[in-house]
């Protein structure tokens, strides 16, 4: 057991203990310190960089740390094991922390308001099947000895005129206490059937507020010896209106963003974002699926497979992944949002989730392996009647968990709601909807038809596979300009701090600028030299974006990074081309291109076209929509009509598996060139290049 003391530029020093054989990364994680390591600590991604200041460590390999950095003490936390007490410095970029996350689309009050006003503009108004109630039940006495359950049901039926009333077991369990704690004055939420003839009690709690207000009247009633009974009008006589709350989440492979909303007014009460805690099991959905199936396979190998049960298997991989998402990510977010809004978590009566297909499966703990195996079949598209209690989500156990329906194995509910929010499904003109996240998804269509596909762009837009890549968090370079003569950059950093890395929008700008200034050729290889351009031992060129004279790890963009990025953006463009060709359409036929995703503070459309990521059409046709996934989940949260619409969108959408299209690979190879092998597709890029 050794103690590791951590210093970091903007935080107080803290320390944690290690156990024998633990890597620095494992030990830190055990201590609850979120170091970024999308490769699960295999020494590949190079994101868990720390600087060893003092202490002895055992190390496996240098990893991809450059010689100068290594000599300055920089190490990968996953590759070293402490052999004594150590002192380390952890740079901000190595932390996965919620304070660092940017919440695209819901960052400030103005944007919060935009969710509400956009919803109103789209004709979506708060309207759900949930009904809050306040009720003063007659207290039992010698002539009224009805059981608690009967008492509650009788009074609810009387008050609302229901014929049938269902009371779930978890309500029954707490009923006796709740009634007595509130002196038979209760509040709660009912979930009503569409025809209003039956309802289910979702939650109840003792209503002290109501009692205080009404105490006097009730005493008078009692004194008069009249039968204790509230008339219907008294049901809502409480002065303080109880909030009917719900939570909406956009669960991304990398980032989770959530909001807490008032279901009756649509008002957003709180918001929060966090890194998906599953990140430690891998950066992409495939490694998550593999991880979620791991132990089960081992058991089969051991011959213990006969009694193996996917649903009940304890401590199996899918349970670990589910816990990482629900217990370590969603529940803490709910807790934070509720305390911000001054609300008990059990008042959350509805939860809406927009996530990709894999996340939906892992959230529900459903065996996901078939998603990654040919012919790529998911377990479900649309899951009905899941309750928060089934998934142990912090809220009223009966709260319905509404998952936005999936469309295909690699086009999930986040795209369904995104399409819904974009309005593409309701417009006569041809539109394209592009969601850039970990991987990209594309929808082409109008009110007549819709096609969707996923392009395997990989995690580059969110910083994966890029040596200095990072999510759009504090310290991320999000816009870049380069002087063509001096090759000196000017850039902006999220949070106005020192640059720690590059986020998606920064990569688009940097690639476009390097290309515009003829610093790289059309393949992305450096062809000019200067102070900003260096080559490593293997001859790989890189551009130094941060001040080359500043000590510490520099923010650089190497030829390998450029290559990865060119492929990522090529995957997007070739998917668009393949889809258009399947419909025998050209890019000019698209009248509106909606771009969604939280890759930065919005992307520079001009630059994205210049590097061949988006089609070269009139710039006014592009619209940046922000986080449509969260916005869609919000609309589903406040409106049942929106839920029905989203389901309709999912049913009308055709899913194309690009890997089955023989020409996709060819389109992809043609796209891996700046801006494209076929220059005629980018006339404005050619003009611009000539102009400089």
């Amino acid at each position: 057991m050794y103690t590791v003391t951590c210093l970091s530029p903007d935080r107080e020093a803290f320390s944690f203990r290690t156990s024998a054989g633990d890597s620095m990364l494992d030990a830190a994680r055990r201590a609850g310190i979120g170091l970024d390591a999308p490769c699960s600590g295999h020494g590949i991604c190079g994101k868990c960089k720390i600087q060893l200041i003092s202490g002895q460590v055992e190390e496996d390999q240098r990893g991809n740390i450059r010689k100068e950095e290594y000599e300055a003490g920089w190490r990968l936390a996953c590759r070293i094991r402490p052999l004594s007490d150590c002192t380390v410095r952890i740079p901000d970029a190595s932390f996965v922390s919620r304070e660092n996350m940017i919440i695209a689309g819901s960052q400030n009050d103005a944007e919060k308001a935009s969710f509400m006003s956009n919803a109103r503009l789209a004709g979506v108004f708060p309207d759900t099947d949930l009904l809050p109630f306040h009720l003063q039940l007659p207290k039992p006495y010698d002539r009224d000895t009805r059981p608690d359950l009967e008492r509650l049901c009788d009074e609810l039926k009387k008050a609302f005129g229901y014929e049938h009333l269902r009371v779930p077991f978890y309500i029954l369990k707490s009923l006796a206490r709740v009634l007595r704690r509130g002196d038979f004055s209760v509040s709660g939420v009912l979930e009503t059937d569409r025809d209003n003839r039956a309802a289910q009690v979702l939650s109840i709690w003792p209503d002290r507020t109501y009692r205080r207000v009404q105490e006097k009247d009730i005493r008078q009633n009692n004194a008069a010896g009249r039968e204790e009974r509230m008339d219907n009008n008294a049901c809502f006589a409480g002065t303080e209106r109880e909030r009917l709350a719900g939570a909406a989440f956009d669960i991304g492979t990398t980032t989770v963003v959530g909001i807490l909303a008032d279901l009756q007014t649509g008002e957003i009460l709180a918001q929060n974002a966090a890194a998906n805690a599953q990140l430690r099991y891998g950066a992409d959905v495939i490694s998550r699926i593999i991880e979620s199936c791991r132990e089960e396979e081992d058991e089969i190998k051991d011959g213990k497979g006969e009694e193996w049960d996917l649903a009940t298997g304890e401590k199996d991989g899918s349970e670990r992944l589910q816990n990482a998402l629900i217990r370590e990510t969603l529940n803490p977010m709910i807790r934070r949002m509720c305390s911000e809004a001054g609300l008990e978590p059990d008042r959350i009566s509805r939860i809406c989730i927009a996530a990709n297909t894999t996340m939906n499966h892992l959230l529900c703990g459903v065996y996901a392996d078939p998603i990654r195996l040919e012919p790529w079949v998911p377990s479900f598209f649309d899951a009905e009647d899941i309750r928060a209690g089934d998934l142990n989500i912090l809220s009223s156990p009966g709260a319905r968990v509404i998952l936005s329906p999936n469309i295909g194995s690699y086009v999930g509910g986040d795209i369904t709601v995104g399409t819904y929010v974009s309005g593409l499904w309701d417009r006569p003109e041809l539109s394209l909807f592009i969601d850039l996240g970990t991987n990209g998804e594309i929808v082409l269509g109008n009110k007549e038809f819709m096609l969707s596909c996923a392009c395997s762009a990989g995690p580059a837009f969110e910083g994966g596979d890029i040596s200095c890549g990072m999510r759009a968090a504090q310290g991320a370079v999000d816009t870049v300009r380069i002087n063509p003569q001096t090759m000196e950059p000017s850039f902006t950093v999220i949070g106005d701090t020192n640059p720690a890395g590059l986020c998606g929008s920064g990569m688009i700008d940097l690639t476009a600028e390097l290309f515009r200034c003829s610093i790289i050729d059309r393949r992305g290889k450096f062809v000019r030299s200067g102070r900003r351009i260096r080559r490593d031992e293997d001859g790989i060129g890189f551009y130094i974006l941060s001040d080359p004279d500043r000590p510490g790890p520099a923010v650089e963009f190497s030829e390998v990074d450029i290559d990865n990025f060119i492929r990522a953006r090529g995957a997007v463009f070739s998917a668009i081309r393949t889809m258009l060709r399947q419909m025998d359409l050209s890019a000019d036929d698209i009248e509106s291109i909606c771009i969604a995703g939280g890759i930065g503070s919005g992307i520079n459309i001009e630059n994205a076209v210049q590097i061949g990521m988006l089609p070269d059409v009139e710039r006014s046709r592009f619209h940046y929509l922000g986080n449509t996934s969260l916005e869609g989940a919000y609309r589903m949260l406040i409106s049942d009509e929106a839920v029905r619409r989203v389901l309709e969108v999912s049913r009308r959408m055709t899913y194309i598996e690009l890997s089955r299209d023989p020409s996709y690979m060819e389109e992809f190879v043609a796209s891996c060139f700046l801006p494209h092998t076929d220059e005629t597709l980018f006339p404005s890029a050619a003009r611009k290049k000539d102009g400089t």
Binding site: E666, V669, F673
Partner: protein
């Protein structure tokens, strides 16, 4: 029903690239029709046939080829002799001895061989490397220096080393460049664009978009060449209008059908016949797909292919 033939006439034509100097110089390309469609357009230059020799001299050749080089030892001896074989338009010297996993011969030693071969023949010359992008780049640049003024063909620039190899086309050396890519029309086009942007003139580039022996992934080679030619002529894609060269010798003679001796495979018959068949069939197919030049090993294959192309192009020189 009467037969109405469809015209395959094209407004575009393939660039002409001339290799070598003086009377013996040969030009490839220039056609404005699909291969051998002389009824659709002009084929001013028949496809060219080259013969391959290696820096190791006669000892490198299969036994069935060695007998044609009676009395020769070195590559220069072979070059002198090969110049008199029927149908040989140019000589390709393959510097396979540079392979670090093989003989690992030093570049300076190899340059002596290049010089000796150049002195031994006035036929146009091509020089190829050892299939190692980094080593080849160095070799070709040195060879370009040695062959200054010979307007030779450097085989080949690849995506990994084009920045270095492109310099052999600079006015001070004036050589031609092969642009090698692997069975993909887009990769071929990308490399051409990179070379053109590096200011290599289009009449100094010959594409080498992939090669294989017949039956060994050969359909990729054929369809790539085929599509390059269609794009060049029918879509007038200027970046694909360079002539195509296909080195056949090394591929054809390394597969079992050609390499197995008669002792090993008595039921397959004569090794020499098999080798020639493999080489001729492969070459004929790539020519029919659109190749403007082939490189072969066996003198009999060279004679056969040269006769075939002459017969099929008639009007061509």
């Amino acid at each position: 029903m009467p037969f109405i033939s469809k015209s395959g006439k094209s407004a575009s034509r393939i660039c002409e690239v001339t290799v070598g100097t003086g009377d013996r110089a040969v030009t490839a390309g220039g056609e404005s029709s699909l291969p051998f469609y002389t009824f659709d357009g002009k084929t001013p230059n028949r496809p060219r046939t080259g013969i391959e020799i290696t820096d190791g001299g006669v000892a490198d050749q299969p036994a069935v080829v060695q007998k044609y080089y009676d009395g020769c030892v070195s590559a220069a001896d072979m070059a002198r002799k090969a110049s008199s074989f029927e149908g040989v338009d140019f000589i390709c010297l393959a510097l396979t001895g540079a392979d670090p996993n093989g003989k690992n011969r030093p570049a300076d030693e190899l340059m002596e061989t290049v010089r000796a071969v150049a002195d031994a023949t006035d036929l146009p010359l091509a020089v190829s490397g050892c299939d190692n992008a980094q080593i080849d780049a160095g070799l070709l640049r040195k060879a370009a220096q040695v062959l200054k003024g010979r307007n030779a063909l450097m085989l080949s620039a690849r995506e990994e080393n084009y920045e270095s190899v492109k310099k052999t086309a600079a006015p001070e050396f004036g050589q031609n460049i092969g642009a090698e890519s692997a069975d993909d029309i887009n990769l071929a086009k990308q490399l051409n664009i990179l070379l053109l942007q590096a200011e290599v003139p289009e009449n100094k580039i010959i594409m080498q978009p992939g090669t294989a022996a017949c039956g060994y992934g050969f359909e990729y080679v054929i369809s790539t060449i085929d599509r390059i030619r269609l794009a060049a002529l029918q879509q007038s894609d200027k970046t694909l209008q360079m002539p195509v060269i296909t080195p056949v010798a090394q591929e054809a003679w390394s597969v079992r059908e050609a390499a197995a001796t008669q002792d090993e495979m008595p039921e397959w018959g004569s090794q020499e016949e098999r080798g020639i068949d493999m080489e001729v069939e492969t070459a004929a197919a790539v020519l029919a797909a659109g190749s403007d030049a082939v490189i072969l090993k066996h003198p009999e294959s060279v004679r056969t292919i040269a006769a075939m192309t002459a017969a099929l192009t008639q009007g061509g020189q």
